[in-house]
Symmetry: C2
Subunit: 315 residues, 2 copies
């Protein structure tokens, strides 16, 4: 919020009440513990993982690459089908057709509803049964967030993905937070399959949870989607063909030479370092903050990503 | 999520379980009641209000106008100062200097830290005591949301603004949701005053609540800010002067001829119609939905805005 270094100020004021002229300054003592910057600086190589090339999707746009990690534990059929579609080059030459403010960007076949012009599917499936939720499996990793959730009995992270669980129904599911990727569908629950994919670009639309199949998450390149001009048609669809953004290609990382892959590492979500990161976000220790929230919402915890060299690639 | 009419489908299926081939379809009966479109269609003139010209700010950009409603009940000194700054043309010719993805856009004086080049303030104040929260006043309108909140004891709407209250501390405060406008500050709590203003363009950064003075909300024109190219400097600041977006003017609606004002109406938040709107968003009745959330978060409830003629201006 400052033109100098407010939010990212790295000064440590653990346990010290900030001096300030306001009666509102520091309702409680500044919480002890490291800042996010300090958690990152102290992290060890084992706190990070690389993306599995077989489950990493590259959306290649004229402006650059969007890197998507796929979630086969939660949407195995959709992940397999999106990979099949990519491998038969179904998406190449299609377009981003929708950008709805504070909601989603979506890509697919602009001619999907014109049978003579629509892109033909070769081996992949056009539609699939829904994978809106899955049986709760206690063997899947789950780092629970401590502060609850408005929409689900419990939320946390499983292998880098935001997840809700409900022991009563025995189900777990991916949740709609910033950057999550899902398979658009029509009204029938089994009318999606991955030919149209959307990405959340705004406030987490949690009412979509368990209503549509999520299958992955953007780990790099969100700004190539979130800053697109909003469509002026209903639901943010682009009115005119020339407003659409062409897709150069969608590729699986495993299918291209290693030298052309994005060399990223993502922070593991099953470590004590990640617990420290959560705590550093629940209670900000940076000098700028006056009142620690002592709370964190699942939509408000970005998972750090960096270049393999150790250079920062985003947060 | 569909290329046809999924989310906005107006079909009424009150009480009817949607046909579907999936085992996941309709865990419970489709809830009874109107959709949001039906609530809007059934609304009466008294369910809407106009913006008070004296508390409406126009940010005039080369691409159009951003309309901001000011919140004097929550930040009286900051609102008065921002109006004083606007009236002495302090902002005219300054620029948007920052766009950080999933966080904020910010404008101010690019030369603020160069004493010889910095824009001079005439009558207004450069800094003010913080207005991070205010005494809880039960006489201020408050429509409470029924599903709780991760960050505050209770949340709801007061005269169009998202508000949290804490009876224990006897305080209430504006909360950081999409489109909220605040006064940037440096580390000292009293170092802000309105010369730099920011707007939330992503996931609600609720950890900022009670740490910075919020003073208004964008009611029209968010897409002129949210789709700006992200800055590539630290914290999303634009690296190069030519990346900044010039501000043509910031004006108070009351100061310009009525014919040049934006003729908007905004839905009141203290009516039974607004309660029906909340319910229509807690439990979506549109045909597309399979599982109603039965929950709503304050960050996920847009307040409808329309042109005075009755034509839709945004949602």
């Amino acid at each position: 919020m400052t033109s100098t270094n407010g939010i990212l100020a790295a000064a440590i004021l653990a346990g010290v009440i900030t001096a300030g002229s306001s009666a509102y300054a520091a309702e409680s003592a500044k919480p002890k513990g490291p800042t996010m910057a300090e958690v990152l600086a102290a992290s060890k190589p084992g706190d990070w993982r690389t993306l599995a090339p077989e489950n990493t999707l590259y959306l290649e746009l004229p402006t650059g690459r969007v890197v998507i990690e796929l979630a086969p534990d939660f949407a195995p059929q959709h992940v397999a089908n999106v990979k099949a579609l990519a491998r038969e080059h179904y998406y190449d030459g299609l377009a981003i057709i929708r950008a709805q403010d504070n909601y989603v960007v979506q890509w697919g076949d602009p001619n999907a509803e014109k049978p003579d012009l629509a892109r033909k599917i070769q081996q992949a499936q056009k539609t699939l049964p829904p994978e809106f939720q899955r049986p709760l499996d206690a063997k899947l990793p789950f780092t629970r967030l401590p502060d609850g959730d408005v929409y689900a009995p419990e939320v946390g992270f499983s292998a880098g993905f935001p997840v809700a669980r409900d022991k009563r129904t025995g189900k777990m599911w991916l949740v709609h937070t910033y950057g999550m990727v899902g398979a658009g569908r029509d009204n029938a629950p089994d009318s999606g399959g991955g030919t149209e994919l959307y990405v959340v670009i705004g406030q987490a639309p949690r009412h979509l949870d368990r209503n549509v199949t999520l299958l992955g998450r953007v780990v790099q390149g969100m700004e190539l989607l979130s800053a697109l001009p909003r469509g002026t048609g209903p639901m943010g669809f682009y009115d005119k063909p020339e407003q659409r953004i062409p897709i150069k290609a969608v590729r699986i990382a495993a299918d291209i030479p290693e030298a052309e892959r994005s060399a990223l590492e993502i922070m593991r979500t099953d470590t004590s370092t990640f617990l420290a990161l959560i705590e550093s976000r629940r209670n900000r220790r940076e000098e700028w903050y006056q009142v620690p929230a002592n709370r964190i919402e699942i939509s408000n915890l970005p998972i750090p990503v960096r270049l393999k060299s150790g250079q920062r690639a985003g947060d």
